[in-house]
């Protein structure tokens, strides 16, 4: 469903600091795959997500989404079929709006933002039902401004909101990294639930090797803008954390981390 073909990207182009990250990079993600991406800092994980979402432009190459070339499509237009949860819990929700208003906005995605009333009374119960699966008691606090919630609660809301509408691809950008261990587990379980229920294709970048092992059905390891490990289905199931850690340490020594 998603394909990156011969992608080239660089930073600080035309200066002494020019850094070519991706050189002839290729990746194909099939429908229904839940891909965990790991790798050291600077290996290109987040850049990969930014390229897919359209935050960065590529120097050369193509990005195909459902067979269509989206290389030149703007970020906000791509978002129509892509949901994204960020590392920073503040990015995925709107702090000066209430939980209910955040829901109402997200519920209207893919439709026109017209001059009609934003909050429909009929939908409130539906919102409450979705948010209640986080088990955080947020369903009783629908009129609280999101800015007053904790990081974990905001991230849960961001996740639920991102997966609410009819999207095809869910992008998770180290979305548990800023949370405490407990909230991080809760969010991972919720993520798994959302992905399975909606039958989404997901791409998750994480620094937590255990999460990368335990969740998803495909594992990618990146280093220096290249994919150095790609394990699918059964092959992934048979890979233990220690196996990954061994490879991880090897590449870390190479890049000097």
């Amino acid at each position: 469903m998603l394909e990156l073909k011969n992608v080239y990207t660089s930073f600080n182009k035309g200066t002494v600091d020019e850094m070519n990250l991706f050189k002839d990079f290729n990746l194909k993600i099939n429908k229904g795959e839940f891909v965990s991406v790991i790798g050291s800092n600077g290996s290109g994980k987040t850049t990969l997500l930014n390229l897919i979402c359209g935050t960065y432009d590529l120097d050369d190459g193509k990005i195909l989404f459902e067979g269509k070339d989206i290389t030149k499509v703007k970020e906000y237009k791509r978002a129509k079929h892509i949901g994204r949860v960020f590392q920073d819990p503040k990015k995925g929700t709107c702090s000066n709006l209430t939980i209910l208003e955040n829901f109402a906005l997200a519920d209207n995605k893919q439709k026109r933002y017209s001059l009609t009333k934003a909050i429909s009374k009929k939908r409130i119960d539906y919102y409450k039902q979705i948010i209640s699966q986080c088990n955080m008691g947020l369903e009783d606090r629908m009129n609280v401004k999101v800015g007053a919630l904790s990081g974990g609660q905001r991230q849960a809301l961001a996740l639920v909101i991102a997966g609410m509408t009819d999207i095809d691809l869910l992008i998770l950008d180290e979305h548990t990294a800023a949370l405490d261990p407990n909230s991080s587990e809760t969010i991972m379980l919720l993520t798994d639930k959302v992905v399975k229920e909606k039958n989404l294709t997901a791409l998750m970048v994480t620094h937590n090797l255990r999460h990368a092992c335990a969740y998803g059905n495909r594992l990618l390891m990146m280093s220096g803008g290249e994919i150095i490990m790609d394990k699918k289905e059964d092959e992934k199931k048979n890979t233990s954390i220690n196996d990954i850690l061994t490879v991880f340490n090897e590449i870390s020594i190479e890049v000097g981390n």
Partner: protein
């Protein structure tokens, strides 16, 4: 009686200027866009309204035209910022500078059809000019209360009505899908992008509304002034922003009041302070100085220059 006429002055000016403040509520408070276009669009609204009235056309059309003109130039500021990536302050300066010429030329052309602007550039409201004050609709309201401090009741009612109507419309708008999107745009553009919406578009819409309101304010101000002159826009940025910040920060803790109500009250309080200074015998030449000082005080009151609730959390 002196007190009543003073009340008349600051109330009517307060209601008129509250429209600029409401405009700034959208552009500055919600979108966090320091919009300097207002100085130009305030006058554009006045010119549009003045020309419509002095040409014998229905003054309500003048108000609508004022809004449209203001909104167009507000949108232009937005386009310069969003599409050409020019910084907000510069966009405002560019458009308001442009408007100095546009306002001059359109006044001259509208009055006497002279493109070279060699003659008169102010629009006087003579006895025969029908403005809102002299329309049939408001004729049932006594123009002045002679026994009651000679208050200009009719103007006061008109200005009050405009302030309240604009406030209600704005409140309604901010609850619509589009309005909610606007509020999200000021708070978190990334969130708006993930909703598959162009945050630039909402920004342009917000600036259009803000400047449209400023233009209506300019149109109404000509009723107080009795004419349109080319220096009317000067100082409007300070008046608008100070009213907004005084209103929002003074009533920060008041939960039952809508922000838009606070803004209108802020505008009235600000004008009351200025009127008070005048009544205490400060010559009018000091006016702008006092304005700026009051604004500074308002900024200090608003909690160390950080009055935008979102900036802490966003």
């Amino acid at each position: 009686m002196n007190f009543l006429s003073a009340c008349d002055v600051f109330l009517s000016q307060g209601f008129v200027y509250s429209l600029i403040a409401l405009g700034y509520y959208i552009s500055f408070h919600i979108l966090d866009f320091p919009d300097l276009t207002v100085e130009g669009t305030f006058l554009s609204g006045a010119v549009a309204y003045g020309l419509i009235c002095s040409n014998g056309i229905n003054p309500f059309l003048g108000i609508i035209l004022a809004f449209i003109v203001g909104a167009l130039f507000g949108a232009l500021t937005g386009v310069l910022n969003v599409k050409l990536k020019i910084r907000p302050l510069l966009c405002g300066i560019l458009v308001s500078t442009m408007l100095i010429s546009i306002n001059l030329v359109s006044t001259s052309v509208g009055l006497v059809g002279d493109f070279t602007v060699s003659g008169e550039t102010s629009i006087p409201y003579g006895r025969d000019v029908v403005t809102l004050h002299s329309t049939k609709l408001f004729s049932f309201i006594p123009a002045r209360l002679r026994d009651f401090g000679n208050i200009g009741l009719r103007d006061l009612v008109i200005f009050f009505a405009f302030a309240v109507i604009c406030k209600i419309l704005l409140d309604f708008y901010l609850k619509t899908k589009n309005g909610l999107l606007l509020r999200a745009t000021g708070n978190n553009t990334q969130f708006v992008k993930m909703l598959s919406c162009d945050p630039g578009k909402s920004k342009i819409v917000g600036l259009a509304i803000g400047n449209g309101l400023a233009a209506i304010s300019g149109a109404l101000y000509t009723e107080i002034n009795g004419n349109v002159n080319q220096s009317m826009g000067i100082g409007m940025i300070v008046i608008g922003l100070a009213s907004l910040i005084i209103g929002i920060s003074l009533f920060k803790k008041v939960k039952f009041m809508k922000d838009t109500t606070k803004v209108i009250l802020g505008a009235i309080i600000y004008q009351a302070c200025l009127t008070l200074a005048q009544k205490l015998g400060v010559p009018s030449a000091y006016n702008k100085f006092i304005m700026a000082v009051l604004f500074t005080v308002a900024l200090l009151l608003s909690g160390k220059l950080k009055f935008k609730g979102g900036s802490k959390n966003a």
